[in-house]
């Protein structure tokens, strides 16, 4: 069974540009989560999808971040326009069930905004 995959693995963009991150969850997992780790800080929750619906987006930093999950399969996270403080590692995780059950993480996308 394939794990959670993320693309790209690295992205370097200039301030003001747009970047789109993609996450493919484990097949059959309705629950998809985005997290972010900023240097020196802990991994923090961004949002949670159940199928194509946003269940909780309270962790999104501001309206420059837009997440979508069309068709309830893969998800994209777009940052527009990017700012320096958006640099970090963005992780996607998926889970078969909602609630306190194991979430399987992808390898992450390292975003550097210069």
């Amino acid at each position: 069974e394939a794990g959670v995959t993320q693309f790209p693995s690295h992205s370097v963009i200039e301030k003001g540009q747009t970047v789109t991150l993609r996450c493919d969850p484990i097949s059959g997992h309705d629950n998809l989560y985005w997290y972010r780790r900023v240097m020196g800080k802990e991994i923090k929750f961004l949002l949670h999808f159940v199928k194509e619906s946003k269940q909780d987006e309270s962790g999104m930093p501001n309206n420059r971040f837009l997440a979508e999950r069309t068709g309830g399969t893969y998800s994209t996270l777009k940052v527009q326009p990017a700012e320096l403080e958006d640099s970090g590692v963005y992780f996607c995780a998926s889970s078969h069930r909602q609630g306190p059950y194991e979430q399987y993480f992808g390898p992450g996308t390292r975003l550097t905004v210069t």
């Binding site: 989560y33 802990e42 929750f45 909780d56 309270s58 609630g99 306190p100």
Partner: protein, 110 residues
Amino acid sequence: EDQVTQSPEALRLQEGESSSLNCSYTVSGLRGLFWYRQDPGKGPEFLFTLYSAGEEKEKERLKATLTKKESFLHITAPKPEDSATYLCAAFEGGNNRLAFGKGNQVVVIP
């Protein structure tokens, strides 16, 4: 305010030298306490979930325990391949999400 605090931040062990990592949490209504392992450049890898105080789980040289305020990850007779960052995360009752600590970076020296 930190909900999950891990200590020590970094730990160097000689191969075979057992030790314990601490994770203290202040979340209300804990529904699960998770331990993950993370290697450099990779995503967190699931290890354990503990659901109630007194619960213990083991996997190879790792043993996780849970009390009402903290969890411990015991590493028995570690090997160099146990070198990694160990992450603790609490699943809080009002929010459907994991709240992570900063991690314990463990280096096991041959």
